[in-house]
């Protein structure tokens, strides 16, 4: 009986923790102790912030601070020149066009 009460209490706490403070934040949480809480938390995250990349968390609850640490954003390119290397020939192409137009 006491065990049931304890499990119920923990479940309630997890629900409150997942839905309450972090409701508008950009995270999803998983819990190792409560499958029900995990499901609810994922749904909340999906409906409030659909554009966010979701990562897993190993904490039992997902307060606001935890959600912030699990959010990822696109990194800036390490090397811009490398990213644009396929367009290196544009300058030469343009010179070629200039010659072509000069001979018209």
């Amino acid at each position: 009986m006491e065990r049931r009460s304890a499990v119920g209490l923990v479940t309630t706490l997890l629900l409150v923790a997942a839905c309450g403070p972090s409701g508008g934040e950009t995270a999803a949480t998983t819990s190792t102790t409560s499958p029900a809480a995990t499901t609810t938390a994922v749904i909340t995250a999906d409906t409030t912030s659909p554009t966010v990349m979701v990562t897993s968390s190993t904490t039992t609850a997902a307060p606001k601070q935890e959600a912030a640490t699990t959010t990822t954003s696109p990194a800036p390119p390490r090397n811009l020149d490398e990213e644009l290397s396929e367009f290196d020939d544009l300058e030469g192409f343009l010179d070629e066009l200039d010659d072509m137009l000069g001979n018209l």
Partner: protein, 254 residues
């Protein structure tokens, strides 16, 4: 008295025989002069004919060389479309075949007026006025369109990079505005260049001067305008790259 009569008869005989002989002698000399004059004139005519034929063949070779250069320009173009290349090469081959036929007629000609008549046909091919400019314009039109396509891909890449910068919290309003300009400039350039190839490729020698002159003139203007728009678009793209470079450099310094 008898001696005197003999002398008179001898004088008469001499007079009768000597005068025609002198006349014949004179006639004989005049005939030799005429023959000599006629031979000199024939030689001069023959030399003139040979020189004129050589000159005609040289003019034809000059035109054939120009056609060879046009073939090379098409072969060396990385951007001309297959359809346009086939059409232009067909026109060039037809002109070359006609010129080679003309060369054979020149070689077979036997009189100066005949060669002159063949020489007068050479400018009618209008290689310098129609075939050469239209070939160059088609190549330029296709190349500008290809360049516009590459610039389009460049702009798409820049759009992705601007998006990433924005998601990292950078202010990229200026980059977005420039990208919009760039896309407009690319579209304008392609819009000017693209129709030129189709408008000039059908021109033939008979279309000179009208409508060939005006069509080729308009094509030249449109191609130059297209080149200018695409050059500006490329410059705008480079400006966006500089903005991104500064943003990412600043971010990596933090």
């Amino acid at each position: 008295m008898k001696t005197m009569r003999r002398s008179i008869i001898l004088a008469i005989v001499l007079a009768v025989t000597a005068a025609p002989a002198a006349a014949f002698a004179q006639q004989d000399t005049g005939g030799r002069d005429a023959t000599t004059t006629s031979t000199v004139t024939d030689e001069r005519d023959h030399r003139l004919l040979d020189e004129l034929k050589a000159r005609a063949l040289q003019m034809i070779d000059h035109q054939l060389d120009a056609l060879g250069r046009l073939r090379s320009a098409i072969g060396n173009s990385a951007h001309i479309t297959d359809d346009h290349a086939v059409q232009l090469l067909g026109d060039i081959s037809a002109a070359a075949a006609d010129l080679e036929q003309l060369a054979r007629e020149v070689e077979a000609a036997t009189t100066v007026p005949e060669v002159w008549q063949l020489i007068r046909q050479i400018p009618g091919f209008q290689i310098g006025n129609v075939l050469a400019p239209k070939t160059h314009q088609v190549i330029a039109s296709d190349s500008l369109v290809a360049f516009g396509g590459k610039l389009d891909r460049f702009a798409a890449k820049l759009e992705g990079l601007i998006t990433r910068a924005e998601e990292n919290g950078h202010d990229v309003d200026e980059a977005w505005r420039m990208l919009e300009d760039m896309n407009g400039q690319i579209a304008e350039g392609v819009r000017s260049a693209d129709p030129v190839a189709e408008s000039v490729i059908g021109l033939q020698a008979d279309d000179w001067p009208d409508p060939g002159q005006s069509v080729l003139g308009a094509g030249r203007r449109d191609l130059h305008a297209a080149g200018q728009s695409l050059r500006v678009a490329f410059g705008t793209g480079k400006g966006i790259v500089e903005i991104l470079r500064n943003l990412f450099d600043a971010a990596s310094d933090v």
